[in-house]
Symmetry: C2
């Protein structure tokens, strides 16, 4: 099943810039069977873990984050770029290759009784997920799980996740180049 799903990821060379081998998840999403299978595989993995909230990172993290929230009967919480959320927020700034970025979450979204699944579509060098972990941690949830559809193993993002030994980090599809 996982091999079949991997075949639905489209490799696009030199996007968004020269030298980058981009992993495009849209063929996996637009095919109803692989969309179902992706959600179902993740649901099987996270069933019985008591997940109460899935936090999806804008904007590709919203997609499987949402279908999985439905399937796990959890609430869905968007983590968004600065200025997009209308209510009171907590934010974290993080470094990009050039400049900085800021992500935000609503202050009433996570409570300390929550078991949170933090979801993004892809793990590369880990900058965004580290900022998201820092953000969620401010709300002291019971536990944080971390999930990706695709992991670029050769970029060692997993080892760059702060305190990575303390988290359950899971990806469905791995690439090593």
């Amino acid at each position: 099943m996982k091999l079949h799903l991997k075949s639905k990821i489209r490799i696009i060379d030199d996007f968004p810039k020269k030298g980058i081998s981009y992993k495009d998840i849209t063929p996996l999403l637009s095919d109803n069977e692989s969309f179902q299978a992706t959600t179902d595989e993740l649901q099987k993995y996270y069933a019985n873990k008591g997940i109460t909230k899935i936090c999806g990172i804008e904007s590709r993290g919203f997609i499987i984050g949402s279908s999985l929230a439905y399937k796990l009967n959890a609430g869905f919480v968007p983590i968004r770029k600065q200025g997009k959320l209308p209510y009171s927020t907590t934010s974290v700034a993080y470094k990009l290759e050039y400049g900085t970025d800021v992500i935000e979450i609503h202050n009433d979204a996570i409570h300390n009784g929550d078991i949170v699944l933090l979801h993004d579509d892809l793990l590369a060098t880990g900058g965004t997920i580290n900022a998201a972990i820092e953000l969620i941690s401010k709300f002291n949830p019971q536990k944080i799980y971390i999930s990706f559809i695709v992991e670029l193993s050769h970029l060692n993002g997993r080892s760059r996740i702060t305190n990575n030994k303390t988290y359950n980090i899971h990806s469905l599809i791995k690439f090593d180049s």
Copy 2:
């Protein structure tokens, strides 16, 4: 049920600017019961319509668009802002209050056999949805359905949708102020 869902929409005055009464869907999403109920109500409405693809408009349209695609066993297709999609795209430009915006879709995402459900979280004055209809129509699908979680009835967005008589337009929750 619908009354209950309406109570989960948070009204935020003067966001994103003075005079606007913003309808915040995040409390509806973060509550697992209302998230389930929203998806289930829409699924009931669209069951047996033969939907093959749900096109969600970036980025709030990705959320319920995805859980509904899962529940209807349809594929999910993102409609994104310019420059975000890595493969070959078709695009449509549309006017905003100040300046213009461009939305795009992958060229291999929709085929003429598809029955498409176009989903966004909210119908205000209809600018974005009109651009999205124009975009999807270029691929000559069998039929286009149009869905929103929230409709701001007082802004008459429904009557501003081009050829609105020819589409099935559905919203789950209506506000008239």
